[in-house]
Every structure is written in structure tokens, then in C-alpha cells.
């Protein structure tokens, strides 16, 4: 299963994402559970707003971090996030 480049992923209803100062990280909160996100996961997920498509998300991340060629990395994370039910 691979994410469509034109898809506009958004956080699944079951999850809430927020910055946690004590953990120095973005976390996903869901019924009785919490996932601490690493920096790149956090940066990708916070751009999954259901409006931007994958191309736009990749472009925005590449611009923010002054890097290029991040599409494969972003796509592979989005696949994992889909599989875990974090995004739809």
C-alpha cells in the first residue's frame, strides 16, 4: 500500500496531536494511550491537515528544512502512519 501523491491526508478522528514541553516532542494522544513522535514524524503529521496534498507537504518540509529529495522518506512515513490508523 502506497500513499497517493495527490491524497490529502489528515489526522484520524481517534487521535489528537499536541506539543508536550515535558517530553520535548509532539505526541499523539488517543484513548488511554500516547505515542511520542520523533522530530520528522511530528513535522510531517502536523502538516496533515486534510487540505494540503502530499506534494505540498513534501515541498513545505523541504523548504522549512532547506533540504531536497525528501519525498521517499515522507511517503514511507505516511504509509506507516496509515497502517497504524493515525491518518486517513
Amino acid at each position: 500500500m502506497t500513499m497517493d501523491i495527490a491524497a490529502t491526508p489528515k489526522l484520524a478522528r481517534l487521535f489528537r496531536m499536541q506539543w508536550e514541553e515535558a517530553q520535548g516532542a509532539y505526541v499523539l494522544l488517543y484513548p488511554e494511550g500516547m505515542v511520542k513522535l520523533n522530530q520528522s514524524a511530528g513535522e510531517i503529521l502536523k502538516r496533515c491537515d486534510g487540505v494540503r496534498d502530499v506534494t505540498a507537504i513534501v515541498a513545505d518540509i523541504e523548504q522549512s528544512f532547506g533540504a531536497a529529495g525528501l519525498e521517499p522518506e515522507v511517503m514511507s512515513f505516511l504509509d506507516i502512519a496509515t497502517e497504524r490508523g493515525w491518518i486517513v
Binding site: Q18, E21, A22, Q23, L29, Y30, P31, E32
Partner: protein, 391 residues
């Protein structure tokens, strides 16, 4: 007690992430597997609304992000909504862990407005007869109505069913019930033998065959349902060779505050002798978490004895559960005897074997329901001796 100039936490101790607020021990149900202390009725003192709100503020400031309102039955408190509102404002993810009794449409709607994130509803079985028998109430129909209300108000929902000898064979029907209710998670929680569950252990203990059948059914449904429902089913630790990583380590992520304000590193910790649990009414939470003897006693691994001390898995399972180690070996610093490396592991195997060979029937030894009257029989009596005595 809010302290706005909180000192920096010691670097080697992580902050609490999970706060369990057991806001009351009052409960309209009388479940035979409840983990609440046997002598809960002895102490009726409960924190005030303001004290609870203060606990929430302190815990959030320290880093807690998950909050469970539990008990007893948290809906017994008519200020629950006020606490939920405060918790949401502070940025907690708020979970209501409930039997559903007392959850009217008015309350559920108000809680939604105030920001309650999730509701965990317990059922005792898929059948009305067994549900009502095990909880010693007529609550099945009421719970079914509450399940509909939870979905009507669009809450994510966990259905929790505690499993044991009397309902393990109904697991298929329980899953069908969860599908019908359209829940997101089904938690099939095998009984843990603490509190009321411990005194009723001989009657509740399933056979290995029952567990294997139930697990096979669960796996069939998992394959069939895919991601539609997440089904949690963990084989009870008495049947395992390695202990559970209880609380993910003592004083590591979990902080419970009991109805009277005692702060506990685990919900069953009051069963341990020789530990004085600090109270949030007179001690700042920061001091409780980082400095109290109760929270430091089994933190890390310096307290461990053999076989844990030299075990390569000690940082994976932390030697198992302190309360279980105490209940089954008389020393909370021993390895949890469900571990096959424990010298007392044979005792656990015997307990399991007995359930296998000659199960104790309710006719021989009646189930002890969690009632105020039964609870008072345990007042001020150490739990282990009493368990051996009471039949």
C-alpha cells in the same frame, strides 16, 4: 497546594505521564473482580473539587498528558463535569472510565461540550444474566442504552470486559456485541488478581484450554475485522513464563491518586505493607513524585534481589509486579513469581493446575461481592492473612 515555582526535576527521573484520578470509591456495582482495596469502605474521605483541580494543575505542569477519571464509579461525583472542564483547559487528554451507571444524556452532552475526549464503558458479559450476576445489579439494559448514547455523541469508545472462567467461553459473542456497538477498541481484560479479584481467585481462574480457545476466537475475529476494531487480549500472567512490565516500572510514568488523596505508584499499591503513601492534600505532587520514599522504593533496579538483579531482562519487565510479588511470596522486593526464574514459580503453577484439575465452584465457595458490608470485614486487617482466612 499549587506551587508556581516548581523546582527542576532530577535528571534521572522521568516525569509522570499518566494520571489516574480515582475520584471516589463509591460504586453502584459490586463486581467480584474489582481491584479496589478490600477495605475501601473504611475510609470515606474524598478530596474536594478544588483539591482535585489543584492536583490536575500540578500534574499537568509536571508533564502528565493522559488523565483517567475512575474510581469506584466517577459519575457518583456530581462535580465530575467541573473537573473534566478544568482538565481539558489544562491540555489533558481526558478519559472517563465508567460502568455507565449515572451517565444520562444531559451529562454526556455536557461532558462533550466541556471537552471529554473518550469514554471507556465496562460490561461484565455479553449476556444479561451473567452481566447482572457478576456485578450483582440489574444493569445490562442500562449499559446498553449508555453505549448508544456514547456513539450518538460521537465519542471514541473503548468497551472493556473483564474475563474469567465464567465468561471466557463467550468471547465470540462479546466481540459481536462490540461490533454492534461500533466501538473503536475492545479491551478483553483477563482478570488481574488484586483486591476483590484476589479473594475470588479460586473461582475466577480459568483453565488453560478456555484461554486457548478464547485466544483462537479472538485471532479469527482480528483477521476478519482488520482495522475496524482494535481488540486487546492479553493472556493472564499466571499462565505465562515472564512477568508483565507492571506500570512500565514503579514511579516511571504512572501516578494514581486515590479518593482520599493518597498518591500511589500503582492502583493496587495500598496492599503493600510498610509503605507510607503521601497525600496530595498536604504534600506537593512534585515532592511526592520525585522525593517520597513510596515512589522511590522500587524505582529503577537498585532495590532488586536475585534472580532479578543479575537478570538480562530486568530493564524490560522490571521484575514484574510488586503487589503480586508481595501477595504471593510475602516480600514485595522478590521477583514476581509468575516468572519462571522465581524460586516460587511453582506456587503459581500449582494455582493454575488446581483450577485445571478441580475448579472451585460457586457452590463450594461463594463469590465475595464488592459491597460496603463485605468491605468492612476487611477494615484494618492485613490483606494477605485475611485472604487465607475468609472463605
Amino acid at each position: 497546594m499549587s506551587d508556581l515555582t516548581v523546582p527542576a526535576p532530577p535528571a534521572h527521573i522521568p516525569p509522570p505521564l499518566w494520571l489516574l484520578a480515582e475520584v471516589t470509591y463509591k460504586c453502584p456495582l459490586h463486581c467480584v473482580f474489582c481491584y479496589n482495596p478490600l477495605n475501601y469502605a473504611e475510609n470515606r474521605k474524598e478530596l474536594s473539587t478544588e483539591q482535585w483541580k489543584d492536583v490536575l494543575r500540578q500534574a499537568r505542569k509536571m508533564g502528565a498528558a493522559q488523565l483517567g477519571f475512575s474510581g469506584g464509579e466517577p459519575l457518583v461525583r456530581d462535580d465530575l463535569e467541573e473537573m473534566i472542564g478544568e482538565a481539558h483547559q489544562l491540555g489533558f487528554y481526558t478519559n472517563l472510565i465508567t460502568s455507565g451507571i449515572g451517565l444520562t444524556e444531559t451529562r454526556i452532552a455536557r461532558m462533550k461540550e466541556l471537552g471529554l475526549d473518550h469514554i471507556q464503558l465496562s460490561f461484565q458479559d455479553s449476556t444479561k444474566e451473567m452481566n447482572d450476576f457478576l456485578s450483582s445489579t440489574k444493569t445490562f439494559d442500562l449499559k446498553s442504552r449508555v453505549a448508544k448514547l456514547i456513539k450518538k455523541y460521537d465519542y471514541p469508545m473503548v468497551l472493556n470486559v473483564v474475563l474469567h472462567r465464567y465468561n471466557l467461553d463467550h468471547v465470540g459473542r462479546i466481540i459481536e456485541m462490540a461490533v454492534e456497538m461500533d466501538v473503536e477498541y475492545l479491551e478483553l481484560a483477563n482478570t488481574q488478581y488484586y483486591g476483590w479479584g484476589m479473594v475470588n481467585r479460586d473461582q475466577l481462574m480459568p483453565t488453560r484450554e478456555q484461554l486457548e480457545r478464547a485466544e483462537a476466537v479472538v485471532n479469527e475475529y482480528r483477521a476478519k475485522l482488520g482495522n475496524k476494531i482494535r481488540i486487546l487480549f492479553v493472556v493472564p500472567d499466571y499462565f505465562e513464563e515472564r512477568p508483565k512490565a507492571c506500570m512500565n516500572g514503579w514511579g516511571s510514568v504512572f501516578l494514581a491518586v486515590a479518593a482520599d488523596g493518597s498518591a500511589l505508584p500503582c492502583h493496587a499499591a495500598k496492599s503493600l505493607p510498610g509503605l507510607e503513601f503521601p497525600n496530595v492534600a498536604d504534600t506537593p505532587l512534585h515532592e511526592i513524585w520525585y522525593e517520597s520514599d513510596a515512589f522511590n522504593r522500587y524505582r529503577g533496579n537498585a532495590w532488586m534481589k536475585e534472580p532479578c538483579r543479575s537478570c538480562s531482562e530486568k530493564d524490560k519487565d522490571f521484575g514484574g509486579c510488586r503487589c503480586q510479588a508481595y501477595a504471593l511470596t510475602g516480600d514485595a522486593a522478590n521477583a514476581d513469581p509468575v516468572c519462571s526464574k522465581s524460586p516460587q514459580h511453582n506456587d503459581v503453577k500449582q494455582i493454575v493446575m488446581q483450577a485445571q484439575l478441580k475448579p472451585v465452584t460457586v457452590e463450594e465457595k461463594p463469590l465475595l461481592f464488592r459491597t460496603d458490608a463485605n468491605s468492612m470485614r476487611y477494615a484494618s486487617i492485613p490483606i494477605k492473612e485475611e485472604r487465607d482466612k475468609v472463605t
